[in-house]
């Protein structure tokens, strides 16, 4: 074990010595290293206090000279500062390139996008000054061009994270409850057992039945109780589980559509009856209808001009979508499988022979009103 500690030391001695003031961890166990994401040079917290308390100063590491502020210093998460820097870059890039997979048509597009972003990160992290500048430029341009979408995706991401957190919390809570329940159950069982035993002893002392019989009976009582309790617990478990399940699906819920409300019965099976080749007008100018419109005697019986228009127009257009030659040719071929009832209904409604099996698109074109 100690060997381990030593080898760790030997691995990377700079881990424990401040490069600025050269104090090391053995003399000062509370030594703490800080970095500034401006240049990622590491130094101990004492040095930071000493150099930067009185305002911005340049980095004490030789040949660096960047101007740093105390505010910018923080503890590094990674021991490898290169990785620390890379992750910081990723954070920056990730905040801008935050597209989501469902925004892409195909998986390949998504993957290509991912690779491109990765390449950009790489340019910033590993590239020389020129490529880095180019990449930064790209980043900025993209940011300006897509600010709206970026914002939306950020919000979506946050929401998702929130949901996730809530779900986790609920789960933990459920687990805690179950644990408590199990504990309680055990306690109860134990208490029961004790009570029963006492009862048996009492009975043995007062009654004078067969001792074995009494003991036997008592045992049976206990067993029944415990099995009953277990059954109860099982059912509770079931209900718990279903509750837990519903908690679990929160994440999926977002994408799932609300259950479809049952629609009123449609006798035409979804065939759209509004004419598509013409638009039915309110009224048409027609010489010989003029009289009928005005004549009380015609209208009194409930004669509706609209009805008349509709039928006339339908009759005029009804043959237009039908090509006899095509249908005859079709008939010779095996019927298309599983056309379903919809076209059949359509066919009947349009007064065609049902066995002609109109193709689905035909049905759309038959502008039948009845």
């Amino acid at each position: 074990m100690s060997r381990n500690a030593i080898s760790r030391l030997g691995d990377n001695p700079s881990d424990d010595i401040c490069p600025v003031c050269k104090s090391n961890r053995y003399l000062n166990p509370s030594l703490q290293f800080l970095i500034n994401p401006e240049c990622y040079h590491k130094m101990c917290s004492t040095c930071v206090d000493r150099i930067f308390t009185s305002g911005p100063a340049s980095c004490p590491v030789p040949r660096c000279g960047k101007t740093l502020r105390k505010r910018g210093f923080h503890k590094a998460f990674f021991a490898d500062l290169k990785i620390e820097r890379e992750v910081d870059v990723r954070k920056r890039v990730g905040a801008v390139f935050n597209r989501r997979q469902d925004e892409f048509e195909t998986l390949l597009d998504w993957n290509n996008y991912l690779e491109e972003v990765e390449g950009l990160v790489f340019d910033i992290v590993e590239g020389d000054a020129k490529t880095r500048a180019q990449a930064e430029e790209k980043l900025k341009a993209y940011k300006e061009a897509n600010s709206g979408e970026i914002e939306m995706n950020t919000r979506l991401g946050l929401e998702e994270g929130e949901l996730e957190k809530r779900r986790e919390k609920a789960e933990r809570e459920a687990a805690r409850q179950r644990r408590l329940a199990a504990l309680k159950e055990e306690e109860e069982e134990k208490a029961d057992l004790l009570k029963n035993r006492k009862e048996v002893l009492d009975r043995l002392a007062t009654e004078d039945g067969d001792a074995n019989a009494i003991a036997m009976q008592a045992q049976k009582v206990i067993l029944k109780k415990s099995s009953a309790r277990r059954n109860l617990a099982d059912t509770q478990m079931e209900t718990n589980k279903s509750a837990m399940d519903s908690g679990l699906t929160i994440r999926g819920l977002k994408k799932k559509e609300a259950p479809v409300v049952e629609k009123p019965y449609d006798p035409f099976g979804g065939v759209d009856l509004t004419p598509s080749r013409y638009v039915l007008q309110e009224s048409y100018d027609s010489e010989w209808l003029g009289n009928a419109k005005r004549d009380m005697r015609h209208m009194a019986g409930g004669y509706s001009l609209q009805e008349y228009y509709a039928r006339t127009m339908f009759e005029a257009f009804s043959g237009l979508g039908v090509f006899i030659e095509d249908e005859v040719a079709d008939r010779g071929q095996p019927a298309p499988p599983a056309v379903g009832t919809t076209p059949a209904v359509g066919a009947i409604a349009s007064g065609e022979e049902p066995q002609s099996k109109p193709k689905p698109q035909y049905k759309m074109e038959s502008d039948d009103v009845f």
Binding site: R8, F77, L114, K190
Partner: protein, 805 residues
């Protein structure tokens, strides 16, 4: 002998059969006919393997489907034994049938056992043999050779390519030894011969891992068809094997090596970019298409194996951000650095995979999806780079495997970070355990894929525990009792010393001098009366050490020494095998010896003490697991929450299956005899958890003995055993000739006819009677369960003691 079960003619290679063997075969056939799974407990030493093989081979040869048999065992010696049995069986069949059947049976074990290469086979570690073999046999090595470059290859492997691929070895049954000899003669590699012939075999016998470890199973077992018959023999520990197959441990050291591996990869990529950029480009193009396509080019064993990915994932293309080699290596480095940082924490942390992933994402921007592809991607990269010193990348591969697993499974796993080795340690030595809690995960593909899975062992009680833990349903669940012409083994439970002080290995009392002395007396007494060998099991090494040193102080060992040699098992395998050797010699030359060992050690599993090698087995204390282990605790909690198995039930079950294993060690056949002593007060209440065949032989008068009473019983028993016992005495009772079998079947038929007739005449009456029987049966179980219920509190109290210490 030859007989029929239903319409199936069975050839059994012995002139006599045990009644339980017949029953076992009937149930096996029932399972196979129904096409379901079963759990069967067959007493040890009653010829389980041979019954299994003869039935299944008969089944295979008789019905037109010719279902293949996959027989899984634990150790190499068990595999070899089964192969020998199979060979004898096939020889017998040939003699009886008068012709040779078209049949091939092969065994498979690791390269280390099967390698013939003069220098590779001399390596000590299996991993090194694997790695060196791979570097000699990888596809690109062959390509290079074909191009005329001078690269080392393995001639044994290359010779295989000259043979017909479906006929690398003639028909017949090949024992491991046999195939080694054949390989040596024909200069062909036995390991690859076996591997490649897998799909042209009628019977395959190999280790559990080839089926359960998803990392291996994917490679070795994927071509096996659905109607194979899968047998897990000695399966009482199968849940632990499943769990180990999916668990990994990561240490600081392995992370350091992983970093080095990643740096090497980086360098290699740069080199390849300069010299042979096309290769990287082709790989890249393949990855754009999807992993499976890249997979087509995969050789039989290119790199280390990967954990199984769900099928839909495999068909998907590699995520874009790890498609390029350099991106992927950076990705790995980031992940490794993250793990290193996590390891610096100085308190115990346990978290679920989702919360681990959330944290990981927050700090490193690593998403779940590329993480899942990690292992496959690394394999592909290593292949592209044509790396030969593969063992250098093992730690990196481990990390990648871990990444894939953690991103693939949300439930049933837990990450536990333990910064210190023990509670008292000062110097941190952190280990990140990624532990699987659910045994059902690893075995699920097996149950899903194969229609008949048979789980069997000598001690697999309580039977219903296994379907529960492993998540499957059975068509047959059966435990057989042992038919004996005389009482050939004597199980006893000793609860007190001669001075009436209760004995127990429970935590509070285990170090009390009175208890230790009583155990010592027990040992002394039995060492006096036992002829030849005697085996003693302790719950743990720690306890064994402390009790031995106390015995030394009390002068007990000196006393024992007068009667027997004393040998001790140690965690070191080498030392233990020397001890075993000495023990056997001592047993054979008449003086006899005592072997002190541990109930969960190597000796308790897989080493037989038949005949003079073991006349008494003494189980000191209940072999509970060390309950303070965090991993065990997590598993207990998982079992309770998911399968409704209570902690105590599981701990007690686990302890008893190990105890039963220990007891079973001394009785390896019907002509064998031995004494089994369970020495702990607490065994009294756990009696019902023993396998049926042991429990049945345990008389009520022998469950609560003191040392002197036990000694009396043992003496009487041994006197009985010393009487001459002719094989003829067994006939018709514990062994059947073909006549006896016929008689039995006749009687059975008569019985069923009678019942049918009665049912017809008396109608309702019979039903009533039947119901009565059922009710009676219930009554029995109720009362039996009661004893258990009554003691629950004590049980709990004793269980929570730190037994493993």
């Amino acid at each position: 002998m030859k007989f029929n079960i239903g319409d199936l003619p069975v050839l059994f290679p012995y002139p006599r059969i045990y009644p339980e063997q017949y029953a076992y075969m009937c149930d096996l056939k029932k399972t196979l006919d129904a096409g379901g799974h079963c759990v069967l407990e067959m007493p040890s030493g009653t010829g389980k393997t041979v019954s299994l093989l003869s039935l299944i081979v008969a089944y295979q040869q008789y019905y037109p489907e010719h279902r293949k048999l996959i027989y899984c065992s634990r150790t190499m010696s068990e595999i070899e034994k089964a192969l020998a049995e199979l060979k004898a069986l096939m020889k017998y069949r040939e003699e009886q049938l008068g012709y040779k059947e078209d049949f091939r049976g092969l065994g498979l074990t690791s390269r280390k056992n099967l390698c013939l290469h003069p220098s590779v086979k001399r390596e000590k570690s299996g991993a090194v043999v694997d790695a060196r073999c791979r570097s000699l046999t990888a596809g690109f090595v062959k390509e290079k050779k074909a191009r005329g470059e001078d690269v080392p290859v393995c001639i044994y492997h290359d010779n295989l390519d000259l043979l017909e691929p479906h006929n690398l070895i003639p028909n017949g049954v090949w024992t491991l030894d046999g195939i080694m000899r054949y390989g040596e003669e024909h200069k062909q590699c036995p390991y690859f011969t076996s591997r490649r012939m897998m799909s042209f075999c009628n019977v395959i016998i190999y280790s559990y891992h080839y089926l359960l470890d998803p990392k291996i199973a994917e490679r070795v077992s994927k071509e096996l068809s659905k109607d194979c018959i899968v047998v897990f023999d000695e399966a009482h520990n199968i849940d632990n094997v499943c769990i180990e197959a999916l668990s990994t441990d990561i240490t600081e050291d392995s992370l350091r090596k992983a970093t080095r591996g990643a740096q090497n990869l980086e360098r290699k990529i740069a080199e390849m970019k300069d010299s042979d950029a096309d290769k990287l480009k082709t790989e890249y193009a393949k990855l754009v298409e999807g992993l499976r396509d890249a997979d087509e080019a995969r050789e039989e064993d290119a790199f280390m194996s990967n954990p199984a990915l769900p099928d839909d994932l495999l068909k998907e293309a590699v995520p874009g951000n790890i498609r390029r080699a350099e991106h992927f290596v950076a990705f790995l480095k980031r992940f490794v650095e993250y793990l290193k940082t996590r390891m610096k924490v100085r308190q115990v942390i346990s978290e679920t995979p989702p919360s681990f992933l959330a944290h990981l994402k927050e700090y490193t921007f690593i998403e779940k999806k590329p993480l899942r592809f990690c292992a496959e991607r690394l394999t592909s990269l290593v292949r592209t780079l044509e790396l030969t010193n593969i063992e250098d990348y093992q730690p990196l591969q481990e990390v990648a495997t871990f990444a894939t697993l953690v991103a693939t499974y949300e439930k049933g796993f837990l990450l536990i970070l333990e910064p210190y080795e023990s509670d008292t340690a000062e110097v941190p030595n952190p280990v990140l355990h990624f532990t699987c809690l659910d045994a059902a995960i690893a075995i699920k593909p097996v149950f899903d894929r194969f229609s008949s899975v048979i789980i069997t062992s000598g001690t697999i009680s309580p039977l219903e525990m296994y379907p529960k833990m492993l998540g499957f349903t059975t068509v047959v669940q059966e435990s057989y009792s042992m038919t004996l012409a005389r009482r050939s083994f004597l199980p006893m439970i000793v609860t007190r010393g001669s001075d009436q002080v209760a004995i127990s290995s429970g935590f509070q009392v285990r170090n009390e001098p009175s208890v230790v002395r009583n155990y010592g007396n027990l040992l002394t007494e039995f060492s006096k009366l036992t002829p030849d060998g005697m085996v003693v099991f302790f719950p743990s090494y720690l306890y064994m050490e402390s009790i031995i040193s106390m015995w030394q102080g009390m002068g007990i060992l000196d006393e024992v020494w007068k009667y027997k040699l004393i040998l001790v098992e140690t965690p070191d395998a080498q030392e233990t095998s020397v001890a075993l050797e000495t023990y056997r010699t001592a047993c054979c030359n008449g003086r006899g010896a005592i072997l002190l060992c541990v109930a969960r050690g190597k000796v308790s599993e897989g080493i037989d003490f038949d005949h003079q090698y073991g006349r008494t087995v003494l189980c000191i204390g209940v072999p509970f697991q060390y309950t303070e282990s965090r991993i065990l605790k997590a598993r207990l909690e998982f079992l309770r929450e998911t399968y409704r198995i209570r902690e105590n039930d599981f701990l007690s079950f686990d302890a008893m299956r190990h105890a039963a294993q220990c007891l079973g060690r001394v009785l390896r056949g019907k002509d064998d005899y031995g004494i089994m002593v369970l020495a702990d007060r607490r065994f009294l209440k756990k009696r019902n958890q023993l396998p049926k065949w042991i429990n049945q032989a345990l008389l009520d008068s022998e469950v609560n003995l003191s040392t002197d009473m036990a000694v009396g019983s043992a003496k009487k028993f041994l006197k009985g055993m010393a009487q001459p016992f002719k094989p003829r005495d067994q006939e018709g009772i514990s062994t059947w000739s073909i006549r006896d079998l016929e008689n039995f079947k006749e009687k059975q038929e008569e019985e069923s006819i009678r019942q049918l007739r009665e049912a017809q005449t008396a109608g309702a009456g019979v039903v009533d009677q039947h119901m009565e029987g059922v009710r009676n049966g219930n009554e029995e179980t109720v009362t039996r369960g009661d004893e258990y219920g009554f003691d629950d509190d004590e049980l709990e109290a004793s269980m929570m003691e730190l037994d493993g210490h």
